[in-house]
Amino acid sequence: MTLLVTTGLTKSFGQNIAVNNVDFTVREGEVLALIGSNGAGKTTLVNLISGLLPPDRGRIEFRGADVTDQSSYERIRAGIARSFQLVNLFDQLPCLDNVALAIFSREGKTLHLLSLADRDTAVWQEALEILHHFGLAGKAGGLAGGLSQGERKLLDVAVAYALRPKLLFLDEPTSGVSTREKAPIMDIITGIVRSGGITAVIIEHDMDVVFSYSDRIVAMHQGAILADGTPDEIRRNDAVTTTLIGSPVQP
């Protein structure tokens, strides 16, 4: 079943056409990797879909409804969440609070002025469980600013996950992380995503990660979709391999 469809999505910044007439589809339940060289338009596409930027032209349909004119707030309520390329957390708050805030928001409790946040044990319990799933339970009380890069990346995803989205965009979840840590991080993320029935779109540069973890790969180049297929199909696609990888990959 199709979860997200964009039709003719276009966005320019002055002379630079970042996203050029893109028809992009995401199917329910899949883990999709969005690849392309720097400047290909991947992050801009995600920014358009998550509502950070308004498109110049085109439509975005999510679960059958047209969300093109909706604010980011409305899209989150509809079920789209994201993590950020440059980790974006509440560094001055403890990890537990970072996740708890997402839960409070999801439950609509953030407009409650006259109840004590600390008393809502259900929320804190859930926050702790989520941290546990992401392997961060030990750092629950510590400030988000004090975590290692890999842990921060995981926390960023955990916060987005706490919103219980249907569609989760992960913008380079392993960038800046040492090679050794990449696999464990991706294992955790894909494990949670698959068991939770969440559809994930992952922007990645590391081809090992891309080929190991995704069901489907969409390659972008200069604002347009270059290729769309399973990892095997993409591996065999010479246009992709030459543009992005430099030379055809040895089977």
Partner: protein, 332 residues
Amino acid sequence: MSTVAVVFEARSPLRRVTWALPVAVLLLALPYAIGAYQTILLAYGLIFAIAALGFNLLLGYTGLLSFGHSAYFGVGAYTVAFMVKYLHATSMEFFVAGTLVTSILVSVLFGFVCVRYTRIFFGILTLALSQVLWSLAFKFFWVTGGTDGLRVPAPSLLGLRLGAGEDKIAFLAGPYYYYVLALFFLCVAVMWVIVSSPFGRALQAIRDNETRAEFVGVQIRTYRLIAFVVSGVFTGLAGALWVPLNGLTTPDIMHWTFSGELVFMTVLGGFRTFTGPIIGAVVFNYLKTYAVGFTVYWQLFLGVILVVLVLSLPTGIAGTAARALARARRAA
């Protein structure tokens, strides 16, 4: 899961409440020890503390520095004055109710414009709007009494009136002080709950990382507006409590210099803590009362202290004291 319990222990609100009790008892008992003049002075301090508490919801918790909070204080004061002048009202409860209405209206109006911006734009917008009110109070002198101001007699407190031959000072130092104190306790309690609520958490999140807050589903503008209105109401209430004590309200109360004093007292006390503004307001009140007697260049004095504070003691009295206490505890 015991970890939740462990995490909570470290943040138990009960620890903070333990010292609040002795302070409350002190405030209740002081009038019997310090005499009428000092009690009235303390009442002024408590009133400014309510105003600063409101102001700091915006600064400390939402990250918005307002240079025009005198506007809401003035709205409170003039609401009471108008009710006396046009409605011949005398009941303090009536005054409080009226102020709640007017301060909500004005804060919603001003807030709607101001919260679309942050930092400097926000600051100067709030300054500009309060100057508009000030200039209106000035120009429409046939309504507001202009620079002569409007007089406000002692109100009735829950039906208790100041009798014809009775001593006004005793009334102000007695029943009125306790009325102010009761409202002070109420305001502190309500504000404490608000900043500890999920809403309060969301505000702090917005302050720390606007983009992330937005992407967690928090609508920045709405939350800021709510904080703005709550802040305006607290400060307006303070204004309403102030005017019967002062006996008179004039346009100066809406001038930017008074906004500056609100900023100053909050920074003096420490704007990153809950109690900072309260401490700062009370200390400032004494500072001003005694220093004004010394020099006409009061602004210069304040300005220099503010610059020094920001340079060397940015966490203010409360913050510095908290750190000293923590260090002492660790050394012990």
